[in-house]
């Protein structure tokens, strides 16, 4: 159930703007890898390219040794899934939780639909009768749990997390982070997680990459945050600003 991720010279331009010049990184199987940087630095674009939500990029990306472009769409969806930032935007407002969760199962012609839905709901800690609710009947944290259940239900190996908690309150963020940690321990997922909050990265990730203007300027272990061991000036400044903000210094 685990797979490594390897990105080699990924590049993309939107019109005349080179958003990612050339990004390379390696994520080990079962690792939680963070991507940090300011808004517009291309963090989310890396995830969108890797999941082929954007496909006009150059370079190569492999999951478990296989190129993502070589995977047919059904296999790809069962290998890599994504959780988006804003649970208010990422769930269809007129679909119940049941229909949100059952559609991927129907598309992939999986059996034991009820059991799988029940398992996914239990995994994310939601009561089963929530299956018949609509997004507007759920709180922000519950919606994000549904979004995670939707990602889990096809039993992927890699989860791409695009700021999974930045739209949530700290108390709800704690619940979701605990849930993500528990799922990784239980199911051995590989996480690639975008965040702007270094405290979240420090809590969740083993290593992280600092991005600036589409480039990875530094790849650091989690322990580099607390003593600010970054070598690159921008990474150093970013960590210093976060530490000042936390008053951890």
């Amino acid at each position: 159930m685990t797979a490594s991720v390897s990105i080699d010279k990924m590049g993309i331009r939107f019109g005349s703007v080179q958003v990612l010049p050339e990004v390379s990184l390696e994520v080990g199987a079962g690792e939680c890898f963070g991507l940090v940087g300011e808004s517009g630095s291309g963090k989310s674009t890396v995830l969108r390219c890797l999941s082929l939500l954007l496909d006009n990029w150059s370079g190569e990306a492999r999951i478990g040794g296989t190129s993502v472009r070589a995977l047919d769409v059904m296999t790809r969806c069962r290998t890599v899934q994504m959780v988006f930032q804003d649970p208010y935007g990422s769930l269809h407002p007129r679909h119940s939780v049941r229909s949100t969760l059952s559609q991927p199962l129907a598309i992939h012609k999986l059996d034991a639909v009820e059991d799988r839905m029940a398992q996914a709901m239990t995994d994310v800690g939601l009561p089963l009768d929530f299956l018949d609710r609509y997004p507007h009947q759920l709180s922000g944290g519950q919606r994000q749990r549904v979004a995670i259940a939707r990602a889990l239900i096809l039993e992927p190996q890699v989860l791409l997390l695009d700021e999974p908690t930045s739209a949530l309150d700290v108390s709800v963020q704690a619940e979701i982070l605990n849930l993500l940690q528990r799922l990784r321990a239980e199911k051995g997922f590989t996480y690639l997680m975008v965040s702007h909050d270094l405290a979240v990265v420090d809590h969740m990730c083993d290593r992280f990459a600092v991005m600036q203007a589409g480039n990875i300027v530094d790849i650091l272990p989690r322990d580099a945050i607390v003593g600010n061991d970054a070598r690159h000036p921008y990474a150093h400044e970013l960590i210093a600003a976060s530490l000042r903000y936390e008053r951890a210094l």
Binding site: V170, S171, H196, A199, D202, E246
Partner: protein, 283 residues
């Protein structure tokens, strides 16, 4: 700080939206001198509603209060005409996201100057000079050039500083900052907050910062109100935030991941129903 002569006194403010059974704000009291007050709470706790009720920006909600006094003006009875002379002049509000709060099809300088010309009779040239000086005060380099830019041509941090310039230009006595930096990157967040903080202190402005961010209020406020479900559950000096006694405040503090933390599962807030009834009035 100057508690003897408050700028703003609110007693038992309640706000109810439409036909909702539960009021969004219940029996909130506060008194503000020339100091920096933080209001913290989760989304839906009513903290932004308090700010909007003080500025009388809730025409459709039922707002009741025993007392709402801003300097010599009784906010609960003031006419809209009176409010127009106060709002944006003596009482201003800094909003969350410059991308949505600035007019996208007007040059930023013109928007700053308009805020001034709405309240002071002067020539365009004078308003422009005042605006440029204010842009300089919020540490915008080359303010003459920035004056003529459109909002999409400035960065988020610069946009927020332009909003701060606009809101401080009329020399207000009270500024309400509603999540002033939550749309900004952490590298520029401190810079913007330091600029706001410096100006507010220099001019002796009363500042209410509304935020969900405990770190922010800890560093940039003197006093903090913690709101839960429309009520104030605790009031603390910002420096004593770590010594909070209310289980809700303690739960919020504990739920924050910290750099260099243990990576153990974070303590999750167990909400108690009695929090909704206990407390409320804080002097």
């Amino acid at each position: 700080m100057a508690q003897t002569n408050p700028i703003l006194t609110v007693k038992n403010l309640s706000v109810r939206y439409g036909a909702n059974a539960e009021p969004a704000v219940r029996n909130l009291s506060l008194s503000l001198g020339r100091e920096r007050l933080g209001i913290v709470g989760e989304s839906g706790s009513g903290k932004s509603t308090v700010g909007r009720a003080i500025l009388r920006l809730l025409p459709r909600a039922q707002v009741t209060a025993e007392q709402m006094q801003f300097e010599e003006i009784d906010l609960s009875t003031a006419s809209e005409r009176q409010m127009l002379a106060v709002r944006g002049r003596r009482m201003t509000m800094i909003l969350q996201d410059p991308k949505f709060s600035l007019n996208p099809i007007q040059r930023v300088g013109a928007q700053v100057a308009e805020a001034y010309r709405t309240h002071f009779r002067c020539s365009k040239a004078v308003a422009r000079a005042k605006s440029v000086a204010m842009l300089e005060a919020v540490q915008i380099r080359d303010p003459e050039r920035v004056y003529d830019l459109y909002p999409h041509e400035v960065s988020g941090g610069m946009g927020q500083r332009i909003m701060i310039a606009m809101m401080l230009l009329t020399d207000p006595d009270l500024v309400i900052a509603d999540e002033p930096t939550s749309a900004l990157d952490v590298t520029v967040r401190l810079n913007v907050l330091n600029i706001l903080d410096g100006l507010v202190r220099d001019k002796g402005i009363g500042l209410i910062t509304i935020s969900h961010d405990l770190n922010l209020v800890r560093n940039f406020c003197d006093r903090v109100l913690i709101m839960y479900a429309g009520q104030v559950v605790e009031e603390l000096a910002a420096k004593d935030l770590d010594r909070a006694t209310h289980p809700y405040t303690r739960g919020l503090l504990a739920a924050q991941p910290r750099i260099g933390g243990t990576r153990q599962p974070l303590p999750v807030l167990e909400r108690q129903s009695e929090w909704k009834t206990a407390g409320g009035a804080v002097s």
